[in-house]
Symmetry: C2
Subunit: 347 residues, 2 copies
Amino acid sequence: MPQLPSGRPTISDVAARAGISKGMVSLALRGAPGPSAETTARVLRAAEELGYRPDRAASSLALRRTRLLGVTMTVRNAFHAELVEELQSAAEDAGYDLVLAPVTRTRGERAAVETLLDSRCEALLLLGPEAATEELRGWDARTPTVVFGCRPRTGPDGGAGGGPDVVRASEAVGLRLVVEHLAALGHRELVHVSGGSGDIAADRRAAFEAAAAERGVGARTVEAGFDEEAGVLATQRLLTAQGPPTAVVAANDRVALGVLDTLLRAGVQVPQQVSVTGYDDSQLARLGHVRLTSVGQDPAGQARAAVRLALERLEDVEHAGGRDVLVEPHLVVRDTTAPPRGEFMSQ
Amino acid sequence: MPQLPSGRPTISDVAARAGISKGMVSLALRGAPGPSAETTARVLRAAEELGYRPDRAASSLALRRTRLLGVTMTVRNAFHAELVEELQSAAEDAGYDLVLAPVTRTRGERAAVETLLDSRCEALLLLGPEAATEELRGWDARTPTVVFGCRPRTGPDGGAGGGPDVVRASEAVGLRLVVEHLAALGHRELVHVSGGSGDIAADRRAAFEAAAAERGVGARTVEAGFDEEAGVLATQRLLTAQGPPTAVVAANDRVALGVLDTLLRAGVQVPQQVSVTGYDDSQLARLGHVRLTSVGQDPAGQARAAVRLALERLEDVEHAGGRDVLVEPHLVVRDTTAPPRGEFMSQ
DNA sequence: TCGGTGCGCGAAAGGGCTTTCAAACCGGTT
DNA sequence: AACCGGTTTGAAAGCCCTTTCGCGCACCGA
């Protein structure tokens, strides 16, 4: 048998060394019934001695499946990074592996999905996809698809059935938690610094206003954007226009950081004079010198849910998809919220 | 011919539709010499109509090569993210594809490398590896390996030959740029907030001290750590111990942010009273409300260099490895550096 | 001693793709 | 009809692994 160019041992090498046939080796290595205990031991030892590791390509060709879950992500996005970590564990627990396809400036989402399909991933997990509903449904038709952090995509006919599954955190619950917390501290007038024009920002804004109305506290919204810069500008406007409010509800942690920084530079004390909340419970919020009160979106829970949805559709081929899983967010109270100036807690 | 469970069209389907044999289809699709122009056109059309995409596993099995470059990274690390983006383009230009293996809490570097080897990657690119020299050399012996951002790893015998290639930015140049800049502004006494115990931190510290000595300005180093928290603590000590210095050289941008924030909270104006520099030119440094003077490490250049090194070793099997490529960093002057209090520029 | 009963094993097919190789074909000349 | 040199073609082998099928063997009870 001619030596391969790569020089890596194959199953035949193991078989030869163990004095046994290839087939037996394959069974023995995977603990399948068939080979005797003694044969299995010999095979394992031979494999160990040779440093044999099965070739994924050959294996998936023979198995006619890859046990691969394809993930598209924006590599610079910290929340995506966190999700990937959790997806990794969740997939591993289920005996699957992840293939990561980063979406970059030079490589769009479509190209990323294409490579995933070329690797014959069994399901697609798209983090914050930008594709149109049409395209998402197209991908879903080829391969079960789960989408993170965007609204459910019903078809152009508005029909709810089919299409990708959606996993997201409930904005309604998250903002209710924030509003309740601030109201309980005694704040009567909340200002929301909104995250711009995206779906999620709009949902958060609506959820904020609903929660404030429900709780009976005053609510005002300032349009901003999704990053620190936006928080800075919004806060500058707030400070000059009519003096600072007692509490600011930022659309996310990055915006909150801009808010905090601007207040600090203006000599406004947080939380003594103004309370600030973020959203996402990102690394930023946890930093020792920031300690931002924020809303955690349970990335681990979202990851597990997504993997579960994907696997359910893999196992049950007739499964329709089109589900919408809402994960329960939770409030993380840190050092940027307190009762309003001079007041005591109201409960 | 039985339909596959996956339902995806194979090369046989294309062949049947084009009324031609599988072999011809393979040649035609890849533009290899053989099939006539007319045949090629027919094949391309059939493939298009069926939505055919070749199966990577089958293809790499037959080719006996994968054209895959394996990358390990810490998914939360922003600089790694930037490198991955650049690696992606560099690899694509060379006709290769990337396989990303994230190193997480639950999955160590060794496991990540293992999966890369199982996918039969042709080379390994390790971002900020933590493995011991021994282990790195072991991997390199199996597959050409390029290592980012750590010192060259000579063998236990101290011999320079062989072992992984190394790509890194020159700390000596980077810190000389910083020191020159501050000295030119008129600062006479610089304080370095050091990044802890890692290789890179040690190199930066040494480079800082060498550059200051060379330029003839005073230099003091405070041991800290690699994150914002470390910057905060170090700055608090600086402030209480003997009053703030006129310029702080932080080991990286995250530390610099902690420094900035602490100064701000203490009412110290930046850059009027104290100048601060970072290192990495990360997203953080570029933020509109931070605008930190920092050192860029040319991630694009590093990525291209790494891919080049890897490909050279793939093409020339006898290549020894063990090279050390230093990329030239550059200074990005923003708003956190200025002449010291009350002084004018000295040149 | 013999026919049955399992168990452990080897042989071989098959998965999708690439590549090789011998055969077919071209139109014109001997 | 055999042959020319060059271009196309189809069949088949091989890449590494998994899984099925049936055989041979040892052992059992009769």
